[in-house]
């Protein structure tokens, strides 16, 4: 391995230089860099929203960068479509598999790279042989819908190998795999790198990165914060620090209050994730009146699912959720809302707001029952309610009858948070409430949550921004692999210790 590395050092197999990519309301990549040498497995690390997927989608031709350059083997390339990138030898295994469930394995593998006329038997034979060569066992004539997630992923990798991709990108490949399957995948990737190919491995699971990657590039907020770190010379805690941002505290902590009685109780809670694997594995926590309990953790460790179960959007497989002592485990979202729960969802425009409805309509989505005159909604009452929200929460908008799609991220979030808080909740569950906002937006939302706490509300704050949690949370719980891996006092906790809990290293075994 070592001597190969030496000769390919001069011209990296892949170079992404100063990539910018903007989407309405979001800057996904703000001058990101990536250099990958041939014959290596290169990890691209970062939290959700750090711009990893966007960056590799630029490399695979799905997105065109607004600025920046893609170089392969030192030559500049400009991909207009995924087909261009494919032709240049770039194969991508997407997070959401790009497979046709009703097609057979063989049909999926050859799609886009088949001979003019397909001869059955022959096709399956050749796909099967390719799989055996790389240690990817498949049944080429099985339809894909019958396959497990791990098997589907093998089909995806086979697709790239079928086209003889020299550069293989895997977008969070282990998210859908069992630990044994993930280990197997690591061996396959190693095998491919030893074959002279470059593998780009996107992940936020640090033990995998340290397990089978050669180098790591870390992204945060769309920028490269660490480029091509040799994995052998670093450790998981350092990488975790780079991912979540290890800048020293600059914010003053607002003074805490003495917490009151328990408002939100969660005990023994278990729930499944979208892919049917257990995402929340026995969580116990309680949030008292007048305190903010922060949930830290690397993305994908069950935070999202925990928030959804508490909000009533995802069924619990066991355990209980109580609001003010009343069992709400099976209650629908509306009953929880009536019982004083406010939920600020992670997916602002998907779950929280309806992009094509007006500012007024969005502002009454939760409380429209209170805006009636007789059986009908009253336009003037809704407008008054909306104007009140806009003023109190400082939302900057155009005409209130216009669709909210034109509002900036910060103003959307103010409107959403304002709407949720205006119902005078006793419990607030906020999932990533400041993600993607600018500095003022972040500050404004944090102040609202603190003010809410000071008014006696119990706040459960789920965030991937450790600084935010250390600034405003009164207690900090770390979620790892679906369960609580540690509890810290944000005023005195050591960042290093929190980082270790986030990557699943129990404090006593840490170096």
């Amino acid at each position: 391995m070592e001597e190969e590395v030496g000769e390919s050092l001069a011209t990296p197999a892949v170079e992404l230089v100063d990539i910018w990519k903007r989407f309405p309301g979001v800057v996904a990549n703000a001058g990101a860099h990536l250099r990958v040498r041939g014959g290596t497995v290169h990890a691209v690390l970062g939290e959700n929203g750090a711009g990893k997927s966007t960056l590799v989608n630029v490399l695979s031709g799905v997105y065109r960068p607004d600025e920046g350059e893609v170089r392969l083997g030192g030559m500049p390339y400009r991909f207009r479509t995924p087909a261009d990138a494919l032709a240049a030898g770039i194969g991508m295994v997407h997070q959401e598999f790009r497979l046709v469930p009703s097609f057979t394995v063989a049909e999926n593998v050859v799609l886009g790279a088949a001979k003019r006329v397909l001869r059955r038997g022959d096709l399956e034979e050749r796909v099967g042989e390719l799989g055996r060569r790389f240690g990817l066992a498949t049944e080429p004539d099985r339809p894909v819908w019958q396959l497990s997630m791990g098997e589907r992923q093998r089909v995806e990798i086979l697709k790239a190998l079928w086209r003889d991709a020299r550069i293989l990108i895997l977008d969070e490949p282990t998210a859908v795999l069992t630990p044994a399957e993930a280990e197997e995948l690591g061996e396959v990737l190693r095998h491919m790198a030893d074959d002279g190919r470059s593998v780009i491995f996107i992940s936020h699971k640090l033990h995998e990165v340290t397990g089978f990657c050669d180098e790591a590039t870390v992204l945060r907020g769309g920028e490269t914060v660490a480029a091509s770190l040799p994995v052998a010379e670093t450790d998981a805690a350092t990488l975790a620090g780079l991912m979540v941002g290890a800048t020293p505290l600059t914010n003053e902590r607002p003074p805490s209050r003495t917490p009151g009685e328990v408002r939100l109780g969660v005990s023994g809670l278990r729930a499944l994730g979208d892919r049917g694997l257990e995402a929340v594995g026995g969580v116990d926590l309680e949030v008292r009146s007048g305190e903010i309990v922060g949930i830290a953790g690397v993305a994908g460790n069950g935070q999202r699912e925990l928030a959804q179960v508490v909000a009533g959007l995802r069924p619990a497989t066991s355990g209980t959720v109580t609001l003010d002592g009343a069992d709400m485990t099976g209650a629908p979202p509306r009953a929880r809302f009536a019982a004083g729960l406010a939920y600020i969802p992670e997916d602002r425009l998907g779950v929280g707001l309806a992009p094509r409805l007006s500012v007024v309509e969005n502002s009454v989505l939760r409380t429209y029952r209170g805006q009636r005159r007789g059986p009908f909604l009253s336009g003037s009452r809704m407008a008054a309610h909306c104007r009140d929200l806009v003023e109190r929460f400082g939302v900057r908008t155009g005409p209130l009858g216009d669709p909210i799609a034109g509002l900036s991220g910060g103003n959307l979030q103010r409107l959403l948070v304002g709407r949720e808080l205006s119902g005078r909740p006793s419990v607030v569950v906020a999932a990533q409430p400041t993600r993607g906002l600018d500095v003022q937006g972040v500050k404004a939302i944090q102040n609202l949550l603190v003010a809410e706490r000071d008014a006696g509300t119990a706040v459960l704050l789920i965030s991937e921004d450790l600084d935010e949690l250390l600034t405003i949370a009164d207690r900090l719980l770390v979620l790892h692999d679906g369960s609580i891996a540690g509890e810290f006092d944000p005023a005195s906790a050591e960042r290093h210790a929190i980082g270790e809990a986030m990557v699943g290293q129990a404090p006593e075994t840490a170096p």
């Binding site: 989407f23 087909a83 046709v100 886009g112 397909l118």
Partner: protein, 310 residues
């Protein structure tokens, strides 16, 4: 029931079956690519009137058939432009195409209503085969379009299941982003499928005015385009099964006009309902089976595809 009338029924079954099959095959191809085109009735009417007028003008039935096919494809391209290129709602566009096609056909054809045909596609003479009892008239005494329908069915089956372009086309209908990422042009595949489908619907319409009832009258497509749409579902999006369905539905059409001759006292309106009742039954069977396996309907059917949406 005499032997002659029985043979007559079977001959008509095959004729009507081919008429439905041509249009259904076109719809099947478009739907396999993910585009629902409810404008079959309109495309048939356009094909029918243009073929009839071309036959009057030039007296050549084959040229007239070609005109019908091309006009059908052009009519479908309107739908293709709106739904594939612009990403418009497919149901709305398709329904509009039916109304537009029927209206436009009635308007352009108003001077040729009731005129004797300029040319007809006469039944093919298969020599001694045509003289066989039963099989002769039923299988070997048909108009050329019946045999074209059979050829088109076999070709569609082969292309869809055994060629690269068929694989790409089906992928565009199952998961457009997958086809796109694999390097196929989703717009090209879908537009092509819609246009070819329109050509087949046009051929079906031309078959009406050049062979089956060689004259033009407003509304002569008489809802057969809708039966063709139902037939695609009945055939579970497979050319082979659709052929069986076409014969079954064709038989129902043939029987409808002959009920009185056979002295059966059933309202023909009940028979007209049967294709739809059968189709709904098939839909129910499909949905029940879909609980543990994917439905045979193309997964991306009816959805527009835009690449950079997120």
């Amino acid at each position: 029931m005499t032997e002659a009338s029985m043979i007559g029924l079977l001959v008509a079954t095959v004729s009507f079956g081919a008429l439905l099959y041509l249009a259904a095959l076109g719809e099947l191809i478009a739907e396999k690519a993910g585009i629902l085109n409810l404008g079959v009735e309109g495309m048939m009417a356009m094909g029918a009137v243009s073929a009839f007028m071309a036959a009057l003008e030039w007296g050549n039935p084959w040229l007239a058939l070609l005109v019908g096919i091309v006009v059908g494809a052009l009519t479908a391209s309107v739908h293709g432009w709106f739904t594939v290129v612009m990403g418009a709602e497919q149901v709305v566009s398709g329904l509009s195409l039916t109304i537009l096609g029927l209206g436009f056909a009635a308007y352009t054809g108003k001077n040729v209503v009731g005129r004797p045909p300029g040319a007809v596609l006469a039944p093919v003479d298969w020599g001694p085969l045509t003289d066989l009892p039963w099989a002769g008239p039923v299988l070997f005494g048909q108009a050329p379009l019946v045999y074209l329908a059979v050829l088109a069915g076999v070709a569609a089956w082969f292309v869809l299941t055994r060629t690269r372009i068929g694989l790409a086309l089906r992928a565009a209908g199952e998961s457009a982003s997958t086809a796109d990422v694999a390097g196929h042009s989703v717009v090209g595949l879908r537009f092509g499928a819609v246009a070819v489908g329109g050509g087949l619907a046009g051929a079906s319409g031309a078959y009406l005015t050049l062979s089956l009832t060689p004259q033009w009258a407003e509304g002569m497509t008489a809802g057969r385009g809708w039966i063709a749409v139902a037939l695609v579902i009945f055939g579970a999006w497979r050319p082979g099964r659709a052929a069986v369905g076409a014969l079954l539905f064709g038989g129902l059409l043939a029987l409808k006009t002959r009920l009185q001759t056979f002295g059966v006292d059933i309202s023909p309106i009940l028979l007209s309902m049967l294709p739809y009742v059968l189709t709904i039954t098939v839909l129910i069977v499909i949905s029940v089976r879909a609980r543990n396996r994917p439905s045979p309907s193309p997964a991306a059917l009816g959805t527009a595809y835009r690449r950079e949406e997120r």
